[in-house]
Symmetry: C2
Subunit: 331 residues, 2 copies
């Protein structure tokens, strides 16, 4: 807290389950951090109230500590219209055209930037994290889903409707597993952490592992005893230990991921691909075979560096701060 | 030629077979146009000599007509490093790291911009042609190959190594036909004009139609009587007339193309997709089923407008002029 004038920005990364919040100085140093539950089950309106109340609380915390909050950055999942400051659509929070930026400006009186969580995470990784030496970066977050951010010269591409970078929803296996989005064969339906876990569990039980039969459908099957549910990390561990089924499921995921990254490289042509999210924590068990598989798929394209994310789950919050700071610079 | 000060830029679009060349005013009006053979069979060095001689001739033509050439724009196929002004690699002309921009500047004494032919064509379509009302445009050229240019706010993305937008080399059919690039199942191997013609011809003859068996291999098979070779346009016509084999090949190409465009939309999120190149001249026979197939593939993404190119085969040359003019503005 030693910076002369004590200026900070207020940053919120709103997820389906929790919110990561911080007061961050212009040099990127986190002065204060706190976490809250999103409570998405209460509906979008209640979530908006919580976001505004938490932001308000952070502004008070800052002032109490003698700091000067200058701007607010909020990032949310789904489709985000950054230019208009609107949370257009989100599956797990239920936002439908929420003018979150203006609501926050009205409430707090601070200039506010609204952004997309994965694009903000990519922005932070590209400027401050694992991609900081590269001008062209593709950040890929692999968790429950798969999403990407294409960052060039320190700016993340938003697309015309706030929906760019949906690497999880490109076709890699025609006729393959059903995806949560409604199509079949999307990358996310094969290589996301939840798809890996689902596929392994289903094969162990002799079913297909489609998203529509074992995932979003929930526990409608009732008390029928199911197979033991494992996580993607456990599948990776079992594959590393040589277990046959795990090896097969893991290899299928790595190959689909390599196909997806090769498509990303063909269209974006980046220097560095940064992998984040839960699955990227599998370490060499993921990166070694993935590098090999990606190399096999690139013919005339330059092979990008393939590196793990450096900022962990704080990337989105740091990215929210960067959006807030960028806005101050632009205005 | 009535503009007051008579300023023009010299524009060259160098293709594998021919060069389209023009003198173009800052307002985009073509004052003079000429075409030359590239003569790629003479080797890259001879092609460079021809490019410089043709450009020199255009400068003289301009001055003789009382015009003032202010800059030169050259666009070439392959991988182009626009920042360094180097033609890095091209399959059909044989360029390998040719510093074409500096060679031209030395010879002509004019500020020179070097660009990529399809990206320049996309730039022209986005600013002056079928995409002129949209801020985010994907231009897709479908001819012998398939390549794309992503244009945002009037600038075409180049990528880190000058290789962005290679939509022809994304995987759409795992285990599918061999592509000229060495992989299998690339979009270009199924939906380019040459792939459509090859596939139809091969199926009619009872073979596979892979790029490596019937195309680049040439006529090594000697005098064995082969099937009649048809063009993609003829396949489209025969499909429209209800011929079974043509209908099947055309449908396969349209579906692969829809998969490729859906992937492009998932990653780029544009307002307008402009289709150019020979295949796009198939008109409603292409656009009607393609729009339907693309719509079926988009779940949460906004459907882009899908329109034919407006500038025909002059787009690349106009784009070369835009690059030259942009450079003057930047300097």
């Amino acid at each position: 807290m030693s910076e002369r004038d004590g200026r900070v920005v207020v940053a919120l990364d709103v997820g389906g389950t929790g919110m990561k919040c911080a007061l961050i100085r212009p040099d990127g140093a986190v002065v204060h951090a706190e976490r809250h539950l999103t409570g998405a089950d209460r509906g979008a309106e209640a979530v908006v109230d919580t976001i505004l109340a938490v932001a308000d609380g952070l502004v008070s915390t800052a002032r109490t500590a003698g700091l000067t909050p200058t701007a607010l950055g909020i990032v949310v999942p789904g489709i985000v219209d950054q230019t208009r400051g609107v949370a257009v659509w989100s599956a797990n929070i239920g936002f439908r055209n929420v003018p979150l930026r203006d609501l926050a400006t009205d409430r707090l009186g601070l200039p506010t930037a609204l952004g997309h969580d994965v694009r903000a995470g990519g922005l932070a990784e590209a400027r401050l994290g694992a991609g900081r030496d590269a001008g062209h970066v593709l950040f890929v977050a692999i968790g429950t889903g798969i999403a990407a951010a294409h960052v060039v010269a320190g700016a993340a591409a938003t697309g015309a409707h706030g929906a760019a970078g949906e690497l999880g929803h490109i076709l890699v296996r025609p006729g393959g597993p059903r995806c949560g989005c409604g199509r079949s064969g999307c990358l996310e339906a094969i290589a996301s952490a939840s798809a890996v876990a689902r596929r392994y569990t289903a094969l162990a039980a002799g079913t297909t592992g489609d998203a529509d039969t074992t995932s979003d459908g929930g526990s409608a099957a009732g008390p029928t005893p199911g197979p033991t549910v494992v996580t993607a990390a456990e599948v990776a561990d079992r594959a590393a230990a040589g277990e046959e089924l795990a090896t097969r499921v893991w290899r299928e995921a790595v190959e689909a991921l390599a196909d997806g990254l090769a498509t990303g490289q063909a269209l974006y042509d980046v220097q560095t691909i940064v992998l984040g999210g839960g699955l990227a924590q599998a370490g060499p068990g993921l990166f070694d075979p993935l590098r090999t598989a990606l190399r096999e798929r690139l013919t005339f394209h330059r092979e990008p560096r393939l590196v793990p994310a450096a900022l962990g789950d704080e990337a989105g919050c740091l990215g929210a701060a960067l959006l807030a700071l960028d806005q101050l610079e632009d205005s």
